[in-house]
């Protein structure tokens, strides 16, 4: 079996090279706020966060339960993209949230939304394997389809 070749460069551009294609995630995030994208996302998963996810609103609400999120919680969302479901969970439970991803454009959109909605937390460009967060700082962590 061949091993897929995956490389990532974190600066102003984010691409991942698979065996047969290169995906420019920053380019994908540049169109997420367009009307048609928002319309599709709302229809498919019930969100409006620029997500291209398989985590539905119902499943996000289940995450809030199993993570026991509340106003005292600090949640880490690894591979958050533009904030689904991390920012949504912060808005619905009152928790604070730290978004991390290697896609700078997605984090930019997520951080702007956090500022607009007065959600406490941070957005950090980082790999989930090397989190720039101090030991034992968080009550909860989540990620959606980052391991695959």
């Amino acid at each position: 079996m061949t091993t897929p070749r995956m490389t990532a460069k974190v600066d102003t551009e984010m691409t991942i090279e698979f065996n047969d294609r290169t995906v420019d995630f920053d380019e994908r995030y540049r169109v997420i706020e367009h009307d048609v994208m928002q319309r599709i996302e709302g229809r498919v998963i019930g969100s409006s966060y620029g997500a291209n996810s398989y985590t539905t609103k119902v499943q996000a609400d289940q995450l809030a339960e199993v993570l026991a999120l509340g106003p005292e919680s600090l949640l880490l969302d690894i591979g958050s993209g533009a904030g689904w479901p991390g920012v949504y969970l912060a808005r619905t439970t009152g928790c604070r949230v730290v978004l991390t991803d290697m896609t700078i454009e997605g984090l930019r959109v997520g951080a702007s939304r956090m500022a607009r909605e007065a959600i406490a937390g941070a957005a950090i460009g980082a790999s989930g394997a090397a989190l720039p967060i101090r030991d034992e700082a968080l009550e909860a962590a989540t990620c959606s389809d980052v391991f695959c």
Binding site: M1, T2, P4, F18, R21, R28, V31, H34, V36, M37, R39, I40, R43, V44, I45, N52, Y54, T55, T56, Q59, Q62, L63, V66, L67, A68, L76, I78, G128, A129, A130, L131, I133, R134, D135, E136, A137, L138, E139, A140, A141, T142, C143, S144, D145, V146, F147, C148
Partner: protein, 129 residues
Amino acid sequence: MMRACHRVLEPGGRFAFFVIGAANDLSAAQRRRALEVGHLDAGPGYPALLDRAGFSAIDVVDVTEAYLATLASWYEAYEAEAAALEDLIGAEDFADRQTRRKRTLASIEDGVVRRFRVTARRPPTDQTE
């Protein structure tokens, strides 16, 4: 990444994630097929990884049925907005995304690819450290 999550969670902290992976007990040809649609590891393999990283109370829920419905919905919604999407992202990117969705849908229907929700806790008092 499991060890990194364990490190940043407080004792008693909770970790919940979704993961898409190849099903267990696949033939070599089926594993190649799972790899072709971008998935490597089986969900049931994650309990062992979490355990090695120091997590406890590990639970795995198969959510493949919902995954299949959601992916089909992405495909259908894109088809319904095909003209606008081809203008926005280009006909080639649109076709590529839809082709990959169709291949993944077929892999799910054939039992090759599955999706799981995995939950775990960092023990209130670590046994591993």
